[in-house]
């Protein structure tokens, strides 16, 4: 069964317009409110690259576990990979905002701070840039290799072809585990450079995975409403998506709880600082909103089997979870700059949304250009 993965031209123009407006807002914002702009940009950057890299991450998990349930929906994470090459240019833009975002990029601050001086062997602008280039090079190369191997397997379902895709998946996953852990320290944890947490990479991974699953679900279920695409969202597949939402949202809550509980319990000042910052102002409300959107909503709404099999309900839950995941990324970034309260500016809302629109635009374009043939096994 072939699927016409063609999104309406109006939608594509709309998404591109928002992305371009975001870019314009970013440039103008640099002049009158650089602090908010850079916070908004970092949230958008993490969201964009996080979504792009969850594509090959999901694909490698599916390939290694031999999952066939996604069927034609596998084309969506495949298309997500096509946004990865834009990560490095965005990262280069981020490099010019290092001074606004990261205390460790300021040589004077490092000289007066013993801890920053200790960490400067790792946290320094050159290392940051080089590592980022390495992450994107590896993700882009191995991600495209994985997609190519999976697509080759569609037309050639022989054993050597499947071995090649399993190897590509294992290679991506091994490299991803290490590079993503380091990237989470570089981009987000080092915003508060005195603080550290061994579980932090999983906090970020669970959040971007939730965002990635939401995007796959929303795009897939939206296409399923088009004539000729009904087979995309069979009740069984919708239920499997719903189950994944329950599982991933539980994982998100579990990881967040582990970090919070252990820091609260031991109450050591070098660790509590992160939560102390986030206990002031509006941040506790943001934290609760994240918990409701990322965990409570999918957990309760999808628990009854009838609702879990309903594409409308699952799509709505996906929208809520996507909102929660973006909010959580914001929660990870913004409080580091204590002068900025929650809801500090329109820029922090607009830039991540523009990044999302830009990502969706690239995803939909890649889907339209990508193969329409059925995936292997369907």
């Amino acid at each position: 069964m072939t699927f016409p993965w063609q999104a309406p031209q109006r939608l594509l123009s709309f998404l591109r317009g928002i992305a371009l407006a975001g870019a314009a807002l970013f440039v103008t914002g640099l002049y009158y409110d650089p602090e908010h702009v850079w916070i908004g940009f970092l949230v958008g950057f993490t969201l964009f690259t996080g979504l792009a890299v969850t594509g090959p991450f999901f694909l490698s998990l599916l390939a290694l576990s031999g999952a066939r349930w996604p069927g034609p929906m596998r084309r969506i994470p495949e298309a997500m990979v096509s946004a990865l090459p834009l990560g490095l240019p965005l990262g280069i833009v981020l490099m010019s905002g290092l001074r606004a975002l990261y205390d460790w990029s300021d040589a004077a601050a490092v000289a007066n701070d013993e801890l920053l001086a200790h960490k400067s062997a790792y946290l320094n602008p050159v290392g940051f840039g080089v590592r980022m280039a390495v992450y994107f090079a590896l993700w882009t190369w191995l991600g495209h290799r994985l997609v190519a191997a999976l697509r080759a397997q569609d037309s050639d379902p022989s054993v050597p072809a499947s071995r090649r895709s399993i190897r590509a998946a294992a290679a991506f996953l091994s490299v991803f585990a290490i590079t993503f852990s380091l990237a989470s320290v570089d981009w987000l944890q080092s915003l508060e450079p005195h603080w550290f947490s061994t579980i932090y990479a999983l906090v970020v991974l669970s959040t971007v995975s939730l965002a990635g699953l939401s995007v796959c679900t929303i795009v897939g279920l939206a296409f399923a409403r088009k004539p000729g695409c009904e087979g995309l969202a069979s009740a069984d597949r919708v239920e499997d998506l719903g189950r994944l939402f329950i599982g991933l949202s539980l994982f998100w809550a579990y990881i967040g709880f582990c970090q919070y509980m252990l820091i609260w319990y031991t109450n050591m000042p070098e660790e509590t600082s992160w939560y102390v910052t986030r206990s002031r102002g509006e941040w506790p409300i943001v934290a609760r909103a994240c918990t409701v959107l990322c965990w409570l909503v999918p957990f309760l709404a999808l628990m009854p089997k009838r609702l879990r099999r309903d594409p409308k309900i699952v799509a709505r839950v996906a929208v809520a979870v996507l909102g929660g995941a973006i909010l959580h990324l914001y929660y990870l970034v913004a409080p580091a700059h204590s002068r900025v309260g929650a809801g500090g500016g329109l820029l922090e809302v607009c830039l991540p949304l523009a990044a999302l629109a830009g990502f969706l635009w690239m995803l939909l374009r890649a889907l339209a250009k990508g193969p329409r043939e059925p995936v292997a096994g369907h």
Binding site: V159, R163, F196, S197, T198, I199, R243, C258, L262, T266
Partner: protein, 465 residues
């Protein structure tokens, strides 16, 4: 090139079914029930003799240390936890694979679990029994062990400390044991009925009583499946919660090397890793001794190898994360603890732990190693050794060198502690051997559902009649 061709040809003929082709459902019933119906072979008696002797050594040691007190152990004021808690965490971890296989893989519709789930669940229960012994003995007055339960009592305002991770253990492991036992027993019922139908005399009565009057009617099956799905859903969070709570025994402290936020997921994945190591060890022996080669096939072993290399690599990532963050934190205590872990008095233990848990499983990437039963068996044994050492290094290594050099000490386990560890292995294998002898070791009704399609019709007649 020759290797590649060989590897490819091995893969070209994937088993169409999970059990050896040509197996009929009547073969399943016969193969699984017959060990229960004939006298056990010589290998079984030799195994029981060895396991029983080890158990007796353990009983003697436990009796001695209860009589004399836990001063018979090598603990002191600095090292308050040694072999006891190491063994406790080791055994709790072993159990995890059983729950993962029976509950999580059921929810993920991984059909290959059908041949091994029964014995993996049995292993869970026996491992939890072994684990529970150690804290109870460590109490010093095990006859007062029931004091850990919070109930209205006549001891004045003496209540357990709800804020202590040790009390959370009581609840976590108590729940885990209860649910695992229920899940295992409910899973046994249809097979016990099959054994009953083949038995005569008192055995028929006994198995009839155990199978709770199972009739195999459509209604029974329908309710049965609902019950199993519910228990699987209940057991799934337990896979995560039990070892998270166990890790909190350490992570809620302020001891460097114990307090790490990543401990809960890191311990869970380590537990699954060690559990699969033990399942592989047991299954490789069982398929040989019991002649179950057609049910526990190469495909099962390959799947378990995949899990082993996946979880082992995550364990390696967790070790690397700990080292990186110890440096990154800038905390002198953290840095010292990890330098001491690698190069201090227990550096050799750290070497064993990294070698066995991270390096050795990587060999499973090679298809030649994966396809060699002997190599997989050796790797599974090394994983067990490595995971025991992981707990030992974390627990003892971190305590021996705490904040104050004046209170540093060296822990040397006494023969009594070694004897107790040996006894726990004796208990585990004795229980497992008795299980092989008296209960159907392979889930017959589930294996029958994965037979080749042409036998499916027969299955539904025979298996459900």
């Amino acid at each position: 090139m020759a290797t590649r061709i060989r590897a490819t040809t091995l893969q070209v003929a994937p088993a169409p079914t999970l059990v050896a082709p040509g197996t009929r459902s009547s073969d399943v019933t016969r193969d699984v029930c017959s060990p229960l119906e004939r006298r056990p072979g010589r290998m079984w008696w030799i195994g029981l003799l060895i396991a029983g002797s080890a158990l007796l050594v353990g009983v003697a040691c436990v009796a001695y240390q209860i009589k004399v007190g836990i001063g018979t152990w090598g603990l002191d004021r600095t090292v308050g936890w040694g072999f006891d808690i190491t063994n406790f965490v080791f055994w709790v971890g072993i159990g995890h694979a059983g729950t993962l296989i029976s509950a999580v893989l059921l929810l993920f519709r991984q059909k290959w679990r059908t041949s091994i789930n029964r014995s993996a669940e049995a292993m869970t229960i026996f491992a939890v029994i072994c684990a529970g012994l150690f804290p109870v003995i460590h109490m010093g007055r095990p006859w007062l062990a029931y004091w850990v339960f919070p109930y209205p009592n006549g001891r004045g305002p003496l209540w357990v400390n709800f804020r202590s991770a040790l009390l959370w253990d009581v609840f976590a492991i108590g729940t885990y044991f209860t649910i695992s036992l229920l899940f295992w027993y409910i899973g046994l019922i249809p097979d016990l009925a099959t054994v009953r139908d083949r038995a005569r005399g008192w055995r028929r009565k006994l198995y009839g009583w155990l199978s709770l009057g199972w009739t195999g009617s459509a209604r029974s099956w329908s309710r049965y499946e609902v019950a199993c799905a519910l228990l699987a859903a209940l057991a799934t969070p337990l896979v995560v919660s039990v070892h998270s709570v166990v890790s909190s025994d350490f992570a809620t402290s302020v001891i460097p090397g114990w307090h790490a936020n990543v401990f809960p997921p890191y311990f869970v994945i380590g537990a699954v890793f060690s559990g699969f190591g033990m399942v592989l060890t047991l299954m490789l022996v069982a398929r040989k001794v019991m002649g179950y080669e057609r049910y526990i096939t190469q495909r099962h072993i390959l799947a378990m190898c995949k899990v082993l290399v996946f979880t082992g690599s995550i364990v390696g990532l967790a070790y690397a994360t700990e080292l990186f963050v110890a440096w990154y934190s800038g905390s002198a205590y953290e840095q010292f603890t990890f330098a001491n872990r690698m190069r201090g008095p227990l550096g050799w233990g750290y070497g064993i732990m990294v070698g066995c848990n991270v390096v050795v499983p990587q060999l499973l990437w090679l298809s030649r190693v994966r396809n060699s039963l002997l190599a997989v068996f050796v790797i599974s044994l090394l994983v067990n050794v490595g995971m025991w050492f992981e707990r030992y290094v974390i627990i003892v290594g971190s305590l021996e060198r705490d904040f104050l050099p004046s209170s540093w000490s060296s822990y040397v386990p006494t023969p009594i502690e070694f004897g107790t560890l040996l006894g726990s292995f004796g208990l585990f294998f004795t229980l497992f051997l008795l299980f092989c002898r008296f209960l159907p070791m392979i889930s017959m009704f589930e294996v029958k559902t994965v037979l080749a399609p042409e036998h499916g019709a027969e299955h539904s007649r025979e298996g459900r009649a």
